[in-house]
Amino acid sequence: MTLSALAYALRWRSRAVTPGAHRGTLAGPGHDFERSVPLGDQGDARRLDLRASLRDPSERVWIRLFRQQAQVPVVVVVDVSRSMDYRGATHRHTLAVELAEAIAHSAWRVGDPFALIACDSAVRRELALPPCRSAAGARAAIARLRAHVPDGDDNSALLRVAPQLPRRRSLVFLLTDAHMPDERMSKVLASLAHHDVVTVVLGDSREQRASARWGIARLRDMESGAERLLLQRPALARAFEEARNERRERLRRIAMRYGRPPLFIDDRIDPMQFNRYFLQT
């Protein structure tokens, strides 16, 4: 299964006028049955609702009305603060770029416009891509993102992303390592509450775990430059595991308040997991 097999299914109706691949709200050609109406000034006689017509004591002819499929803008908001440059089991920025690329491809396949917004402590305009359905545009934006070396001191600009998004309800993928305080996470999600936000937490099994072997390690925070000495030992490994689970539980609780649980992607993108996520939520 390749990354191009990523597929997102939505449970809400797009209000978009433009036909697309998702359930919409507008009546039109499609196979999303809305209701049956007597054949009058609206409707298509080809969509005859035989059962309703026969059951009608006044012997009117009923036809079915359908809703047309609509498109949904897909926006990838990617965190490019310096911690995204972490190289553990994998290079986190590369992982984010790959995921963005796969999403762009999926969007292009179903005809959804794709937009990209990158931000660290500021919204990086040079990396942004406005919603577009052009495959070339998306590829160029992804290439720019791939060449970018994350160097932001933090990801506080995530709070200012909301005005950059389409006004219509969109599917927003928030690609971040979630290395920020819980309040900020909560505020970011609140500011994006208008949209369907999938928080993709890019974890790294080596970053969030400690070796059980004895040793001394001095960790340096990539963003703040703060340092901390750690005595590596089995107890610390357990504490790391505990802290990691607790943090994930907290993130889950925050994200659930805004509609969806986070999608945790560790080390590599698993399309099965990705697709299952959309079927389950």
Partner: protein, 326 residues
Amino acid sequence: MIAFDHPQWLWTAVLALLPLLWHGQRTLAHGWLPGVPHDPASRVLAAALRTLGALAVLAAALALASPHRQGEDIERIGTGAHIVITLDRSASMSDGFAGRGAQEGDEAKGRAAARLLEDFVRERPRDLFGLVSFSTAPVHGLELTADHDAVTAAIRASAAPGVGLTNIAAGLTMSLEQFKDKPVTGSRVVLLVSDGAAQIDARKQNQIRRLFAENRSALYWIFLRTAGGRGPSDPPDPEKGFDPAPEYFLNEYFRDLGVPYRLYEADTPDALARAIADVARLQNQPLRYRETPPRQELGGLFMGVSFLCSLLLLVARSLEVPAWSR
């Protein structure tokens, strides 16, 4: 109190601040430290490593300044006395005692004294003895020593018939010189055994007085009276005309020395034995004295501390992991 031979090296102790400012450890990048669990043990270790570093430098700096400790004086109680036997070897010592019933063939004074002193020495195994014999000039017999065989041999040798006059001042001076530069670990006694006395001129008197005061020595004078001779307790009789009575004035001078002093007049060997027994009893009292302990070099200690700290740091260094969580 700790003192230093080269205090200028103490300036290098400022370098001990460096480990507190720089840790010198390899750092490993991590995405988000606030997400790392708090670990008190690690914090203690971090502080401990820095302290060890500072301590290593500090101890090395102190060691370079070659520290040493001059201890407080310690009060000790000594039991062994230091006794310098000052033996008269003038010609008259070959004569007999003055006591009643003295007759030809009696033991000579010198011989009796030697015999009794030998017993005295044998009974006091913990004491140090020195021996000075004098007649016209003093003879340095033995340095203060614990070798009692040598002491008895020296006493026995001095029992041989003597010659010349009684020059007490020179004998006493030489005896007191024996105590010079020796630690005071027991009471000091000059045991003067003589059968006569002599005038001591004023200069010598002052010198002897000073030596007694410096060496804190007691003086016991065992006077062996010659037949027909006078004793120190007989005052001069003005009716007899010119009478220098040197024994009497010497006794007066000794009393005036300001040190413990006793006079024993012995007319017979028995009296001599009693006198010696009395001296032995007096000198069995313990002596309190202060002793200055030798200076204690602390450089090695500080060097050891520095080495130990460095060793621990080396262990910590070898425990450093090259990459996080691998």
